[in-house]
Structures are given as structure tokens and as C-alpha cells.
């Protein structure tokens, strides 16, 4: 019961901050839309390149990338909020007032998920308006959004671990940069088979490559490597959960 109260309190405050502060809300909503419009609109000719074989068109191909990117960055942006709270002294007061500190992490996590739900809903509506073709059935689509949700949780746990260790907004690049690199060192614009040189070699070992491949397959109704993608994503959740909890211990030890 005490845990639930802390989770609800932290999540509510966080969401209220997001919704009532345009400078926080708008970038997280606008950036994914901007990426989607720029990629799906400006690069649509790429689908005519020999070897591009995604059946549902370039809009759907890019939608999956932007959905996963928005999920990861939705989590990372919540890490910014944690860092800001600690920098301003609110984090310390929160630690003193909370009967169960695990609830602090969970509360921020719940807010990260709800924030992503808002972005994902808007992105999906815009994609459908843009004429995105959906080939997958309801089960495929639920699986696609579940995969994005897991990536959102990964992004959150990663950045929360950093934020609670460094406890300043100066840690923002450290939260953002690895997520950015992992996302863009994957087959963003074309399928893996069309990537050349170093990027192909790097993308083969990037877990985001598998999530993207599976996500695009789910949207087209022809998913492959589902078990591998979900397995990798869940392993990352476990690893980053330990990372975030140790970050909490670090913040507690710092007083």
C-alpha cells in the first residue's frame, strides 16, 4: 500500500509537470512527428531502390522506426526529469519523504510509459492519416506496441540509472547519446541487406536491428525472429533494472 502511494504520487506529479509545461511536452511530441514526416515524406523514393522488398511501403517502414525511437527517447526524457529533480534538491526531499524508495523509480517509470502512450497514439493517428498500410492482424499490432513498450522501459531504466548516479542535468548527453547511437546504427532507412560497409557490420550486432526487423514484420503481418527480439529486449530490461536500482542505492548513499 505504501509502495502504491509513492508510485501514484510520483507519477501524478511527473505527468502534471509534463502536461502543464509546453517546453517539456512539445519536444517529446513534435520530434517523433518531425522525424516521421521527414523520413516518410522526403525519402519515399528509397522504396524504388533495387532490393528494397518491404511490402507495406516506405511510410509503414519508417513508422516502426519512429515508434521505437519515440519509445526509447520517451524513457530517456523521463531520466532528464529525475536529474532535474535531484539537481534542484527535490529528489533529496522525495527520498526523505518516501516510505518506500523503490516507489520513486516505479513512479517515474509509470509516468514514462503513460507519456509514451500519448506520443504513440498521436504518431499512429498521423501515420494512418498519411496513408500507412497495415498488413498485420490485431495480435501482430499488440505485439508491435508491446515491443515498443519494452523499449520505452529500457530507455527509462538506462537513463534513471545515470540520473540517480550523477544527479545533474549535465548528465543529459550521457543518457541521450548511447540511445541515439544504438538507434541510428541500425537499419533506419533501408533493410539490413541493403546496408553497406561498416554500418552493416555494426548493425548486425545491434539489438535494435532485431527489434526493428520484427516490428516491421509485425506491421506487415509477416514477423520473423519474434522470440529473439522480445528475448533480447527483456534481457535488457533485467540488466537495466539492476542498473537503475543500483543507481537508487547510489543516490541514497549520497544522502
Amino acid at each position: 500500500m505504501r509502495l502504491r502511494g509513492v508510485v501514484a504520487g510520483v507519477a501524478w506529479r511527473m505527468l502534471k509537470n509534463v502536461v502543464t509545461t509546453p517546453s517539456i511536452l512539445l519536444p517529446s511530441l513534435l520530434f517523433p512527428l518531425l522525424f516521421f514526416v521527414a523520413f516518410a515524406g522526403g525519402l519515399s523514393q528509397v522504396q524504388n531502390v533495387p532490393g528494397f522488398d518491404y511490402p507495406n511501403g516506405y511510410t509503414a517502414f519508417q513508422f516502426v522506426f519512429v515508434l521505437l525511437q519515440a519509445a526509447a527517447f520517451g524513457g530517456v526524457f523521463t531520466g532528464f526529469a529525475i536529474a532535474r529533480d535531484f539537481e534542484g534538491g527535490f529528489g533529496r526531499r522525495l527520498m526523505l519523504a518516501s516510505p518506500n524508495r523503490l516507489g520513486i523509480v516505479l513512479g517515474y517509470g509509470v509516468a514514462a510509459v503513460l507519456r509514451w502512450v500519448l506520443t504513440a497514439t498521436l504518431l499512429t493517428v498521423v501515420a494512418l492519416v498519411f496513408g500507412m498500410q497495415v498488413g498485420g492482424g490485431p495480435v501482430d499490432l499488440v505485439a508491435l506496441y508491446m515491443l515498443a513498450l519494452i523499449i520505452n522501459v529500457c530507455g527509462f531504466l538506462w537513463s534513471a540509472g545515470i540520473a540517480m548516479r550523477i544527479r545533474t542535468m549535465q548528465a543529459a548527453p550521457l543518457m541521450q547519446m548511447p540511445a541515439f547511437l544504438l538507434l541510428f546504427l541500425a537499419p533506419v532507412y533501408v533493410p539490413l541487406s541493403l546496408l553497406g560497409g561498416t554500418l552493416h557490420a555494426v548493425a548486425r550486432f545491434n539489438p535494435v536491428t532485431y527489434a526493428l526487423g520484427t516490428g516491421r514484420g509485425l506491421l506487415a503481418g509477416d514477423a520473423t525472429q519474434v522470440g529473439l527480439s522480445f528475448g533480447l529486449a527483456l534481457v535488457l530490461v533485467v540488466v537495466f533494472s539492476v542498473w537503475a536500482l543500483r543507481g537508487l542505492r547510489s543516490a541514497e548513499a549520497a544522502g
Binding site: 518531425l34 525519402l43 554500418l199
Partner: protein, 259 residues
């Protein structure tokens, strides 16, 4: 310019450059982020060069123009944030009590941005040359590119100063970041305009001045001496510089009145 004015401009420009150089968070992203995106896009979009009508067989050469404009946008945000911080911390008010002229304040700030813009341009050109890009316009084209980078820095620096003087808050300037990036993304940054298949996107890219700023740089890299692209790019940059400096001077006057 009279000697005291030159001294004031020099001192304020030096402060602007040193302040940026001392803050890795301000100095490094405008250099590294555009190059990182360039490398990622060059790898991911290499296949675009197979499209019929694509103007070059090197996507790296095609995309090398983008960091010049992207870096200018980053600098504009950083410079605007720095000036807004001066306003928020009271430095601007204290400065207005000294004999420093308003024009020196603006010129010093812009000169600092121009220095940073040229450093960025040299960095991007060096990266391009190291990665094997051959500039079609040759050494004279590279020299012209540096002049263009300075002009673009004045245009964007003036805009950043105007926003800072009007809004007076660093957070508000940072909040404009996505809005300004719309102009970069809805442009011909990744595809030549005549190869954009989606008609509304092609229309927006055509009326977007950033497309012409990018195409001016691109022409020097992959075409050579394209008079039309150069005239459009330089013409727009000059117009933007005049408009943004005029707006910044007006905003400075208003801010001085309030101070």
C-alpha cells in the same frame, strides 16, 4: 568604425568565443552531432545514389552540405541561450550602465558566432576531405564556402540574438529547437528536390529557404560553379542576415529601454 567601438566589439567577441570554448557542452555538440548524423546517413542512405537522376555516386559528398546549416542552427540556439543567460543573470543590465554601445554588444556577440561558424566549417571540410570527398569547385570553392559559412553564421546569429533579446529566457530559446529543426528536416537535406516523390513534401521543400542554403553548399561540393545555386544561396543568406540583424537591433533597443 571608431577605435573605442572596435575595442568594445573585440572584447565582447572574445568573451563570446572564450565562453563557448570553455563550455564543452556548448562547443562540442555543434561540431560532433552534425558529423555523426552525416556518417550515419551516409551509410544508411548510400543506396539512394542508385536512383535514376541522383546527382552523384557518393552520398557522403551529397550530404556533406547539411552539417554546415545544421551546425549554424546549433550555434544559433547556443548563442541565443548565452545572451539570454546574460539577461537573466543581470550581466546585460550591468553592461548597459557602462559606456559600451548597444551596437558593440550586438556586433561582439555576432562576431563570436562568426568565429565559431568558421571553425565549424573548417572542421566539416576537413572531415569531408579525410573521408575522400573531392570538392568539385576546387580550392577556390572551399574558400568561397568559408565566406558563405561566415555569412550564414551572421544570418543565424542575428536570429538567435533577436530571439534572446525578445524572449529573455534560455529555456524558451531551447524550447524553440524543434520548431527550427522543422525547417532543416522539411528540406532537400536527404534527397534532391526533383527526386522527392511526395508532392506536398516537395512543395514544402521548394518554398523552404533552408533547401537553397543547403543546395548552395552542395553545388560547390558536387557540381562545381553553379551560378543559379550560388546566387540563390548567397542572396537568401544576405537577405536573412539583413533581416535578422535589423530585427536584433530593434529588439536590443527595446530591451535597453526596459533596462
Amino acid at each position: 568604425m571608431s577605435s573605442p567601438l572596435l575595442t568594445q566589439v573585440g572584447a565582447l567577441a572574445q568573451r563570446s568565443v572564450v565562453r563557448t570554448a570553455r563550455q564543452p557542452a556548448s562547443a562540442i555538440p555543434p561540431l560532433v552531432f552534425p558529423v555523426l548524423l552525416l556518417l550515419v546517413n551516409a551509410g544508411g542512405l548510400k543506396v539512394s545514389t542508385l536512383l535514376p537522376g541522383f546527382p552523384t555516386d557518393s552520398f557522403l559528398a551529397f550530404a556533406l552540405a547539411v552539417p554546415f546549416i545544421q551546425g549554424a542552427l546549433f550555434s544559433m540556439i547556443n548563442a541565443g541561450t548565452d545572451l539570454a543567460r546574460d539577461i537573466q543573470t543581470g550581466f546585460f543590465s550591468r553592461l548597459s550602465l557602462t559606456p559600451v554601445r548597444g551596437s558593440a554588444l550586438l556586433a561582439g556577440q555576432i562576431t563570436g558566432i562568426v568565429v565559431l561558424g568558421i571553425v565549424q566549417a573548417v572542421f566539416y571540410i576537413s572531415v569531408g576531405l579525410l573521408l575522400g570527398v573531392r570538392f568539385a569547385a576546387g580550392p577556390a570553392g572551399i574558400a568561397l564556402l568559408l565566406v558563405y559559412a561566415a555569412l550564414v553564421a551572421i544570418a543565424f546569429g542575428g536570429l538567435g540574438s533577436f530571439l534572446a533579446l525578445r524572449l529573455g529566457s534560455g529555456e524558451s530559446i531551447q524550447g524553440l529547437f524543434p520548431a527550427l529543426f522543422v525547417f532543416l528536416f522539411i528540406s532537400s537535406m536527404n534527397t534532391p528536390r526533383d527526386l522527392i516523390a511526395v508532392s506536398w513534401f516537395r512543395f514544402l521543400a521548394t518554398i523552404n529557404p533552408v533547401s537553397y542554403l543547403i543546395e548552395c553548399v552542395r553545388s560547390l561540393i558536387i557540381t562545381g560553379w553553379d551560378t543559379r545555386a550560388l546566387a540563390l544561396g548567397f542572396g537568401l543568406a544576405i537577405l536573412m542576415a539583413i533581416a535578422s540583424l535589423g530585427a536584433a537591433s530593434w529588439a536590443l533597443g527595446r530591451r535597453m529601454e526596459r533596462t
